[in-house]
Amino acid sequence: MSTPYYVPEESIPLPPVDAEVISTACDYCIVACGYKVYRWPVRGGKRGGPAASENAFGEDFPVSPLGAWVAPTQHNIVLHNGEPHHVVIIPDKDTEYVNPLGNSSIRGGAIAQKVYNPQSPTRDRLKSPMVRMFGVLMPVTWDFALDIAAEVGRHVLDKHGTNAYGVKTFSYGYMENTYAITKYALRHVRTANFTFHDTPSDVTSTPGFRDAGFDNFGPSYEDWRDADVLLMCGTDPYESKTILFTDWIMPGIQNGQKAIFLLPRSTAGVAYAEKNGGMLIDIQPGTDLPVVLAIARVIVENGWEDSEWIKDWVNSKWESSSGFGQGTRNTPWQWRTTWGKFQTNGFDDWKEWLLAQEYSVPEKAAEIAQIDVQKIYTAAEWMAKPKADGSRPKTSIMIEKGFYWSNNTGNTNAISALGIICGCGGRPGQVIGRAGGHQRGGLRGGGYPRNKSPEKLPGRRRRAMDTDRYLMSGHTRLAHVIGTTWVQAMCGSQSLQSKFDELTTRNPHQVTSFDKNDIIDTLKKRADSGGMVVWNQDIYLVDPIGARYADIVFPASGWGEETFTRANGERRIRLYPKFYDAPGESKPDWWIIAQLAKKMGFSGFEWKNSNEVLEEGARHSRGSRKDFNMVKVAAHREGKTLHEKLGEFGTNGIQGPVLMLADGTLEETKRLHDVNRVLPDDGPVGGTVFNKKLTHFNSQTGKCNLQKAPWDLFSSYWEWLKPREGEVWITSGRINERWQSGYDDRRRPYIVQRWPENWIELHPDTAAKFGIESGDYVQVFSDRIPVQKDTIVGVEGDDFDFASLLKNGHIELTRASITAVAIVTPALKENIGYMDFLHTSQPANALAGRVVDWISGNYNYKMGVGQVRKMGESPYKNQFRSMSFARRDIA
């Protein structure tokens, strides 16, 4: 942009009556609101008029509230078939689901700003493949870049083995792409050095849900609305999945729903709930577990549990012992309970355990969490106390990352148990699940080769590789990074970055030639010398993974630039059609992977378009929560492609799993674990799969497992980590206005004006201690960021417990420091600093301990600690253009 200041427009072009209309869905959060793209040529200067008969909306301007208004941020100009076209992109005013009032968040609402336009800050989209020569990334042809990648990749596999080829990829970037990527990495390369953007290991995100038998995304959006009581843990949906709050939960609250938040921080959704009879349980970071168990304890001590539900749907001793209710196979959910740490013999056994734990006593839990103990009693009463007429409140539980990335295994075990005794699961308004982060665009084209992972835990357990630790140990010789920052998205990110430096830029083997063979030889030598080469696929050049480390950059195309498919947080599958030309030579990830795979000698990558990829992948969705295989069958019967058929569903999409009935019609799935659903007597038709979770839970018996949730598996870490003199908790999360790393938002002048850099919220009392005011620049730093090192073979039961790791020298204390702009606000609990989770230049994750949850293998990203020091005043303190220091929870 020519100016650092956003200058708003005072008029916009309206789409003319004959503008083309393309239905799509938002690219950002899990909710995936329906949108319409209005497209018309620039040539001819055509504009719609303010009368209903003169514009494509058929509306008179000015439009009414909730109408088809076009904000200046909703218009752009793109190339379509090589010709400049206007596009106006606004939420679909006609859609029946997801955002049925045509509403949108600030993220999706301004999605027109996302599309490539060289006159906008999107001008730095990657447009050519590039190879680093003489230290500089130089544009080259696809063949030149792919030949090098294939030759060096082949060499690494042949000489150093498959695990030396690391693949770190987004999990959500549309099913066509994830299918191609996983087919390549897992079915053909067959590397165990593979994981997704948000975890060091390819493991389940919510182990407690998995073991209890809950699918993460079982509920439908109307279930969240229809609950009488809704407990939301570790998220304010208003801040990060807006429409789920404004269009589903808010109407619920207006209808008398009691909303409870379990969070250290108040935001607009929390404030709204509190003003309307809800409650915030303002815990300090990492203390969810004792509070959740204390609520459960109050419930069972009063006999308020849902006995009938428990009788029908909880595994007994014998059922549970049939392989922890999960079958007797050699699988993660069985290993997790090797020493009986989690398994119970049913409700009575679980209750006995619960009552024996000191930390489940409300007063003790309140002390650990530093909350008013009355809130525990109130929550228990709201969630489970039968009404005067004997009927039970309809209670639902929603969790998200603030919760499951604080104490991954423990928290998810505890909340599952609380959910089960409250009768959450599979009934209207009585559900339990994740709220969701990104959309669900994963489709597995290969199985993870767990037997190749070096992670050997006590007992028989082999867990997916911790790819960060593997890289830190120097085993990764080729890092193929697709659509993620990797470094800043992981914990203890600054020490991780040092290792990347050492393996790449500080390795003596640097390319100082333009000759393809020389380049190949140099990169092979680097890999052979113990260094690492890096391929990076992305839409923008990311610092440092692309800008500093990548030897080869592949420019990817994305939303609107190729036809893709993806599901949302209620399993609604939609088509995202191509509506404009991708910039330069950029290509969809499936295409890039296919060309590379072919050059590496793999077969099965001969797709001509994205529809062919999805049609091949469709059968791999069978039985999954977004099973759409029968949509393909229906499409082919009608002589259509799968994409054509999905396109017919428009913004309404089709809710998976999709079944085909005997008459050939398709049946959607409103919610999983739907115990009231009656499936056809005559069984599944053709390729249809009746997965158990349609009508039961994910366990051997189809019933739920009530699990113990021991605090002491986590407390050694928590006790060691918690702030010492002069320190505060450093935790982080999403902020409504920025999506992921801000790759789009930092190219939106208005959002940049609001959030020019990372910030840290501090309570006034905490800020006063450090002499900090709103608008001050602060340094956030620590010299005791724990980093787990070494791949060890676990023998004893507690070998991986933090205290043992520390004692045995497997924890290294590292230093980190980032800067931020202070925001002093009473909306945050004392003694905490809260930051945006992923500013690439000021990454809050630098302060989070790089120690995996030792049961699951996930990071507990929200657990960080550090000191705060004032550096001086930021430019935002005393001028009025940028930022705002007002509290975010005005009600």
Binding site: E10, F61, P65, W69, N103, Y238, S884
Partner: protein, 194 residues
């Protein structure tokens, strides 16, 4: 602090018509006013009384100059409503003396500002939502967006696609005039055409 010459060029046009009309300074100030608000200590905009409409360039002259209040009658945190730039849909606006310096603020304390009342997300009415403690408007009854009136109406939290349109003010003696807008009013495709 001077405004970016490119912005000035964009506002004035490159053909010199603004200069010919004798309104260059005024035009520059209209945007510069907001861009520099709070830094400059004596931004008092000069109107163009007597200037025939046809002689002034479209970008600004079409905004009417409207007397909306008197400095002497404003009290801190007691908002005053008016309509601008016309009496049509969504013209209702707030004039308020915040009691603290604000971007684009006028008056001796640079604390008098004016904004359109319609939420720039989905058109929710913000009338009656002035928050004295936070110098904010909102939360919007529709989707809870809040706006910071000390910072040119930038959103504090919420879903609005842009800042609340700020009404540009001038002071002449004790009189406060509305003279322009900064940002598109909800529901309209053009602030002046509806």
């Amino acid at each position: 602090m001077t405004a970016d010459p490119k912005i000035i060029a964009a506002v004035n046009g490159a053909n010199g018509e603004a200069k010919a009309a004798g309104t260059r300074n005024c035009l520059m100030n209209r945007r510069q006013f907001l861009l520099t608000g709070g830094i400059a200590t004596t931004v008092v905009m000069v109107g163009i009384p007597g200037m025939a409409e046809a002689q002034t360039p479209a970008a600004v002259s079409t905004y009417p100059r409207k007397l909306i209040g008197k400095l002497s009658e404003l009290k801190v945190d007691e908002p005053f409503d008016f309509e601008y730039p016309d009496e049509g849909a969504y013209a209702e606006s707030i004039l308020v003396k915040l009691g603290q310096r604000a971007g684009g603020g006028i008056g001796p304390d640079e604390d008098i500002v004016a904004f359109n009342y319609t939420c720039t997300h989905q058109g929710g009415p913000l009338q009656g939502t002035y928050q004295a403690a936070d110098k904010a408007l909102g939360p919007c009854p529709l989707h809870l967006t809040t706006f910071d009136l000390t910072r040119h109406g930038i959103f504090i939290s919420g879903q609005a696609y842009q800042s609340l349109p700020q009404v540009l003010l001038e002071v002449e003696g004790d009189d406060i005039y509305a003279v322009g807008m900064f940002g598109l009013i909800y529901g309209r495709f053009d602030n002046l055409q509806g």
